[in-house]
């Protein structure tokens, strides 16, 4: 089990204990974290699971592939720490991960 934390734009905090192996998007969906729609079901093709990853964790993630890069690139609210949470696989290494949810997905 690892702990991941989603912080809504409003400031509401969701601390979640989860098994590893599923994507961060799935963790959010399974725990009813608001602001993650995941319309494409994890296919990296709708960009409705956008998160801002806390800077302490950025270098622990593998960089976005071309498709994720394309989908993020269309968003004018993209930041350097923007990622699609369906592309982040939870692992022991990410125990303690903190991500912020963007206002535009609220």
């Amino acid at each position: 089990m690892i702990k991941v934390t989603f912080i809504e734009h409003s400031g509401d905090v969701h601390e979640i204990e989860t098994e590893t192996g599923s994507s961060l998007m799935e963790v959010a969906m399974n725990n009813d974290v608001p602001g993650i729609d995941a319309d494409c079901g994890g296919g990296c093709s709708c960009a409705t699971c956008h998160v801002y990853v806390d800077s302490a964790w950025l270098d622990k993630l593998s960089p976005p592939d071309a498709m994720e890069e394309s989908m993020l690139g269309l968003n004018t609210m993209r930041e350097e720490n923007s990622r699609l949470s369906c592309q982040i696989d939870t692992s022991d290494e990410l125990n303690g991960l903190v991500v912020n949810l963007p206002e535009f997905q609220g």
Binding site: D37, A38, D39, C40, G41, G43, C44, S45, C46, A47, M67, S70, M71, G73, L74, N75, T76, M77, E103, F104, G106
Partner: protein
């Protein structure tokens, strides 16, 4: 059942019967089947027997039909293999009247232009638009004649979406009917009562360009503001567009922001009438509305397809697609694919995972205005349910003769207040 027949090849047969054809003769792109609402059986057959289907001869030349959800996802998200450049409908544009628009471009130009237009439907604008939309919906609904038969399409769906579009463009409000007209003209099949020739279409679209060029010239000399015209004429990637490119992007935004929401607003009324138990569910608990909106958009699938051109030889679900082949993704079929969507043929307003539908497309061309569309339809149903116990469909809907824009020109209804 219609008695229309096709006697061009193998004698008389019912063109609306999917089993009146050999598999390789099936051409799902006939506009007439969309008008008569008989297309579904053809897609059902293809999903079962030949999910990636080649049609060697059609009015629009040879083309592949992709009919299953997963295969459509694959094509839609493989923009390096399946190109949008030059057009996104099965019908070819006119070579002498090409309308470049970002939906019909590949990377990187697509991304550059889309990013300019994107903020108009961004979260800040949506928040500002919410109360405006609500007030307009209220005004429109309060003006409707309770207890009399009227056309829902004209009085509600068109009126509401056209007002919204006028707001997005900051278009002179009194002239807003022009937007509806240009939207219809841009997509109409010839001879269906809107226009009869390509020349007529071009003439009216040039009028559209002339009108919008005036708006451009006003706004380019004013400080930038939040409407679409101002964004385009001040945006780095769009400020030097030539006139046809400007027209192309206008048509994209007019059609994209108009026909689609319009037909979902009508489709929802029809779906609830065809499924009275669902209507009862809605009356019992209106908190289901956001979920219902996604289900309406899936059920209606306001754009039946999008087309691509293969940039290289590739294999899709076992079929060899050649470089240059036309590939049509039938969203209208994928949204009924039982292998991904349980009870796909049923309209279920509290369906689980209702957002997981194809109507907005996926990948870099995914609908830009989807949040605005959902918001409009949401507000419409919230305000409808406050006022009317029943919107009763009292006659047959008249459907549009088009394999692209899947919608209605008439839906006779009668309202009953609470």
């Amino acid at each position: 059942m219609s008695t229309a027949v096709d006697n061009t090849s193998s004698g008389e047969r019912d063109i609306h019967d999917p089993y009146a054809y050999e598999l390789d003769e099936i051409d799902v792109s006939l506009d007439e089947r969309f008008e008569k609402n008989t297309f579904e059986g053809f897609f059902e057959r293809l999903r079962k027997e030949d999910p990636v289907h080649y049609c060697a001869e059609s009015e629009n030349g040879p083309y592949w039909s992709v009919t299953r959800f997963e295969d459509i996802m694959k094509v839609d998200t493989s923009h390096g293999i399946f190109s949008s450049e030059g057009g996104i409908t099965i019908a070819e544009g006119q070579a002498d009247f090409e309308l470049p628009m970002f939906i019909a471009m590949d990377q990187p130009k697509h991304d550059e232009q889309r990013r300019v237009a994107n903020p108009v439907v961004g979260p800040m604008n949506l928040k500002e638009m919410e109360p405006i939309i609500r007030t307009r919906v209220q005004t429109i609904l309060d003006s409707l004649p309770v207890g009399e038969t009227f056309n829902w399409v004209d009085k509600v769906s068109i009126e509401l979406t056209t007002q919204m579009l006028a707001t997005l463009f900051d278009f002179p409000f009194e002239d807003r009917a022009k937007l509806t007209r240009w939207s219809d003209v841009a997509t109409a099949a010839l001879g269906t009562g809107i226009i009869d020739t390509e020349e007529e279409r071009q003439a009216e679209l040039i009028e559209c360009l002339t009108y919008f060029t005036e708006l451009w010239n006003q706004r380019v000399n004013e400080p930038p503001r939040g409407d679409l015209i101002s964004m385009l004429c001040h945006g780095k990637a769009t400020k030097n567009m030539d006139p046809m490119e400007y027209l192309g992007n206008l048509v994209l935004l007019i059609v994209g922001g108009n026909d689609t929401t319009r037909n979902s607003l009508t489709g929802g009324v029809l779906a609830l009438n065809e499924n009275p138990a669902e209507y009862d569910k809605l009356r019992a608990d209106t908190s289901v509305i956001p979920n219902m909106v996604s289900e309406i958009i899936r059920w209606q699938t306001p754009l039946a397809h999008m087309r691509r051109i293969a940039l290289e030889d590739t294999i899709l679900n076992g079929k060899h697609i050649k470089k240059g082949d036309k590939v049509v993704m039938w969203y209208v079929s994928g949204n009924r694919d039982e292998s991904v969507i349980a009870d796909a043929e049923k309209f279920i307003i509290d369906r689980a995972k209702a957002r997981n539908h194809l109507s907005f497309g996926f990948g870099i061309h995914r609908c830009m205005g989807n949040k605005l569309a959902e918001m409009q339809i949401n507000i419409a149903w919230e305000e409808i349910m406050k006022r009317f116990k029943n919107i009763e469909v009292v006659g047959e809907p008249v459907r549009i003769r088009s394999a692209f824009v899947k919608g209605y020109s008439e839906l006779p209804v009668r309202l009953e207040a609470w």
